[in-house]
């Protein structure tokens, strides 16, 4: 039998998340966010959190729910618009914010999962993102260019949303709800995945697994997904 990663609720999955921990939270805007994990953090009332997440949700959904309750001490993100409470807390100094380039954010997660402590990227060189960082000139594929040294993230937990998963922790994401999720799944010291559908080992095609179960410590079937759309844009038939 494969190693069983199933827990029966968000409450059980998040039981050992304590105040002042650092969490990686998957999703891009409101797409592919771990709704059940976020609700459970609100319920628990965990405080002083550092959240690494591409965005900060909207006022009344996603990480915005944690901001409302002042549970977040620091956000590490690439883009944080669309959130009035966020803005208020940031300008008043209640909330610490570190903004980093989106590709750097994604890659720092991946490198954590790949056991690579540091790497070089051109993003942010010559800007205030590069201030205080080591830089280095490389000639690569004939182009000479300056790069910043960036470090892999080191976070306590990763909270990840996937589409389907099996009890061994193998998961598949759906469409652009993939985004940062597989990267954060590899990066947490402990990785918790909530899925829309939990299946038995053998039901997923091994060839099509996005995140192998070895990266997943706990998996549970989420409930009541709202999957809110941030910008509903359509054309007429």
């Amino acid at each position: 039998m494969p190693i069983n990663k199933v827990v029966y609720s968000a409450e059980e999955a998040l039981a050992d998340i304590r105040d002042n921990m650092t969490l990686l939270v998957g999703g891009f805007g409101l797409c592919g966010i771990p709704e059940n994990c976020i609700s459970e953090l609100v319920r628990k009332g965990t405080k002083g959190l550092t959240c690494i997440s591409n965005n900060a949700g909207v006022d009344d959904f996603g990480l915005g729910l944690l901001l409302q309750k002042k549970q977040i001490r620091k956000m590490i993100s690439s883009y944080v618009g669309e959130n009035a409470e966020f803005e208020r807390q940031m300008l008043s100094g209640e909330l610490e914010v570190e903004l980093i380039p989106q590709g750097t954010l994604a890659t720092r997660c991946m490198m954590a999962g790949y056991g690579i402590p540091a790497f070089y990227t051109p993003a942010g060189y010559g800007t205030e993102v590069g201030e205080g960082k080591e830089s280095r000139r490389f000639t690569y594929k004939g182009q000479e260019k300056d790069y910043l040294m960036e470090y892999a993230f080191d976070a306590d937990f990763a909270l990840v949303k996937a589409w389907k998963g099996d009890t061994a922790g193998n998961v598949i994401y759906r469409q652009t709800a993939r985004n940062f999720n597989p990267l954060m799944a590899m990066a947490g010291k402990i990785t918790i995945v909530e899925v829309e559908e939990l299946v038995q080992p053998g039901e997923l095609d091994p060839n099509q697994v996005h995140t192998p179960g070895i990266y997943v410590d706990r998996i549970f079937q989420g409930t009541h997904y709202e999957k809110r759309i941030e910008q509903r844009t359509v054309r007429s038939k």
Partner: protein, 218 residues
């Protein structure tokens, strides 16, 4: 003078057959509507799409299918989905040929500022810093002057930079400009009804005007 649509139309002519293109939010997004028939290009969206299609028909929106502007979109046949690390991997490795984005300021050596106004609410750079540090070809779509009437084509940027020496071309309501290796905005085309003099008056950075400057034909 060009309106936003005009700027988008003019930029669409820079899009060539076989290109992978990343379009920023605002005017750049409009460019997709004016890519000529018969030109095969694929749009990349940095949240993880290659082969992005138009907005869905009403009632067919899928919360799991959005673009980097968080708008609901569709996929075209031959599309693929990937994670954010691979998305920026293809950007950094220059497989994305062309990036079109907006700017608050561009300097005559190609520096760009488009993410932060000190003292105001800062929303973040999103993927812009990765894009401008990576793409071989970066075209800026923007208004020539800001709301206070000041030129956005400057000797050097006053706002915090997004990237250095990266912008290759600028299209504004007044004209089309190449950013020169040695510094300076070389005027390539005037917008309909706009004179070189008008452009000169609106350009704070070094403007290079060589020979007769044609009026743009859209």
């Amino acid at each position: 003078m060009l309106d936003k649509t005009g700027i988008a139309k003019r930029i669409a002519r820079e899009v060539k057959d076989g290109m992978y293109v990343n379009l920023g939010i605002g005017i750049p997004t409009l460019v997709a509507n004016y890519i000529p028939e018969g030109i095969n290009v694929e749009l990349q969206s940095e949240n993880g799409i290659l082969g992005m299609g138009p907005f869905p028909f009403e009632g067919e929106e899928d919360a799991d299918m959005i673009n980097a502007g968080k708008q609901t979109v569709t996929l075209l046949p031959g599309a693929s989905i990937f994670d954010s690390a691979m998305s920026f991997g293809m950007i950094r490795s220059q497989r994305v040929h062309l990036t079109i984005l907006g700017a608050m300021e561009v300097s005559e050596n190609g520096d760009i500022a488009n993410w932060k106004i000190p003292g105001k609410m800062v929303k973040g750079m999103g993927g812009a810093m990765d894009l401008v540090a990576s793409a071989r070809n970066i075209i800026v779509a923007m208004q020539h002057v800001n709301k206070a009437g000041e030129s956005k084509l400057l000797p050097s940027c006053t706002l915090p930079l997004t990237g250095v020496k990266c912008v290759k071309k600028i299209v504004t309501e007044l004209g089309v400009f190449d950013v020169m290796e040695g510094g300076g905005f070389r005027l390539l085309e005037r917008a309909p009804g706009v004179s070189v003099e008008q452009i000169r008056n609106s350009t704070a950075g070094k403007l290079i005007v060589e020979g007769e400057i044609p009026e743009m034909v859209l």
